[in-house]
Amino acid sequence: MAHWKKLSILTLILALLAIVPLVMELGSNVMNVMVTLFIYIILAQSWNLIGGYTGQVNLGIVAFFGISAMVTHFLWKAGAPIYLAIPTGSLSSVVLAALIGLPTLRLRGMYFAVGTLALAQAAQTIVANIFTRSVSMPGSFSATYSLMPRYYLGLIMVVIAITVVYVITRTKIGLAMVAIRDDEQAAQVTGVRVFKYKVIAFLISGILAGLAGGLYAYVRLSFWQISIVFSPSWTFDALLAVVIGGAGTLAGPVIGSVFLVVISEIFANTLGQAHLILFGLLFILVVIYFPYGLIGSVDRIHQLITRVRK
């Protein structure tokens, strides 16, 4: 029964998200926040897959986000339709993920994290060196700019991302991923091909990050400096959303993203840059004291209550 309950709640939320913008005018502010939320959710699910389920800390997820955003932007500018540009952008993320993942995923410990962080930094440097001037779409695009198609594309992508993570975690691949996270050595001994599954998880995570990047390029038409799509703050936001919500759960990144977007809407105007520091403190506290995030804490309180009742 619980399964049906969950499914009907999800359908209800989805229906609300799909119908409300059609029947009433939300205003561009709310729509913008919603689209940002969608980008966060996709990026957070991408990190969740590799960091939450497989346990490989990826500190450079922005590299995959950024490369896809750039490829999408330039393809779209060159005249390709957006529904071709975004998949091509994601493809470029996968290629990049393979380049960095194949050498670093073989090694345990910090090398994967360092390799991805270095990749993100190098990508930012290279792009900043190549594109010194601002880039933007031609004026005709901004004349016909509307948030509606972006909203719905984002919504569809969010559904795709969540479905992908859901399906994968219910298959053998997901089982292998969790086994690797919990004890890599034990997994290897019991016959899990650790490297293969790490690479699979990493590549799929790359696709999802690429989707988020493509959506960002679709939403944002002009960049003062295109290297900002490689800014480490994207990595931090994704990490924060996953860790706060609960790593290794399906709903965690979604809840974390909503929390993050709402909080930054509240504080960004009143506190300015100080709200970023607040986020950092929150992040550290959650990692140290609430390793299972909001979801885990709720579950634990629930357990406590049921135990008391019994």
Binding site: R108, A113, Q121, Q273, G280
Partner: protein
């Protein structure tokens, strides 16, 4: 020919600095199995302290090194007490590495934003009376500040090596590195050893920051790229090989400097990434590893 000698000189000077940057990072990594992503931000903060001491009171940056080390030592203690010691509850080294990566990434985020708020995101460097002074070495020019930086890096590396091999504290550190449980049983105060090692690592980051601000320049966003340099040095030297940090830094510096003869110096960071990946692929235990 002159250009080549000049390049090699530049490589040696910056390579020694890379070694210095790698030392502090490698100490925490080797002793506690913690990855301190905030090391780069510590370097930047050390540089800013020297910068302000120089700008406000006119104290020579190289003379302010003891003060910077003192302040940074306490920052290291605070980092350990507030952020790293709670992670000791995880028994497995892999868990510690993962958690410390996350936590110190958060610390970096906080520190970088604090630094940007306090001192804006401008690039700063110290210009003293002798900044432009150069010597003639085989027809090439060697800056005085660079030479001082080189000497300081070598001194710090030697001092750390002596500390680790010739003192009781060093013995404790090495014991805690090998097996913290056994060390604790035989009377080593592991917590205190960790605490002080963390302070020393932060102090060394501070020294590196002073050298950087007086020879080159600093900005709040540069922390991450210095951190990556530290990582590459660690990979070259091999995890936990404190004695080889300086040679590894010199190799990296020379490779980068020589590469500028062929391609634009703007691409130094991608080059270190390539070196990083190549070393990981072919010599995962570092260049100096023997028969492991």
């Amino acid at each position: 020919m002159n250009a080549v000698i000049q390049t090699i000189l530049i490589g040696i000077v910056i390579g020694a600095l890379y070694g210095l940057v790698g030392l502090g990072f490698g100490l925490i990594m080797g002793v506690m199995k913690f990855v301190n992503i905030a090391h780069g931000s510590f370097i930047i903060i050390g540089g800013y302290i020297a910068y302000w001491v120089f700008t406000l009171w006119g104290v020579d940056p190289f003379l302010s090194i003891p003060a910077v080390m003192f302040v940074m030592f306490f920052m290291g203690l605070i980092l350990y007490r507030l952020v790293l010691s709670p992670l000791l509850k995880y028994p497995r080294a892999e868990m510690r590495i993962d958690k410390s990566l996350l936590v110190t990434f958060g610390v970096t985020w906080i520190l970088d934003n604090v630094v940007t708020m306090l001192w804006t995101s401008d690039t700063r460097s110290i210009v003293t009376a002798y900044t432009g002074t150069t010597f003639n070495v085989f027809g090439a020019r060697l800056g005085l500040t660079g030479l001082i930086g080189l000497v300081i890096a070598v001194l710090v590396a030697v001092a750390l090596q002596l500390l680790l091999t010739r003192t009781y504290f060093g013995k404790h550190v090495r014991a805690a590195t090998e097996d913290s449980g056994a060390a604790s049983l035989s009377g080593v105060n592991v917590q205190r050893t960790y605490l002080i090692s963390c302070g020393i690592a932060a102090a060394m980051a501070g020294v590196a920051g002073v050298v950087i601000v007086s020879c080159y320049s600093i900005a709040p966003s540069m922390g991450l790229s210095w951190l990556l340099t530290a990582m590459v040095v660690i990979v070259l030297a091999g995890e936990g090989n404190i004695a080889y940090m300086l040679p590894a830094g010199l190799i990296l510096g020379l490779i980068q400097a020589i590469s500028t003869l062929f391609i634009s110096c703007a691409y130094q960071q991608p080059i270190s990434l390539i070196i990083f990946i190549l070393v990981l692929m072919f010599k995962p235990n570092g260049l100096f590893a023997r028969g492991r």
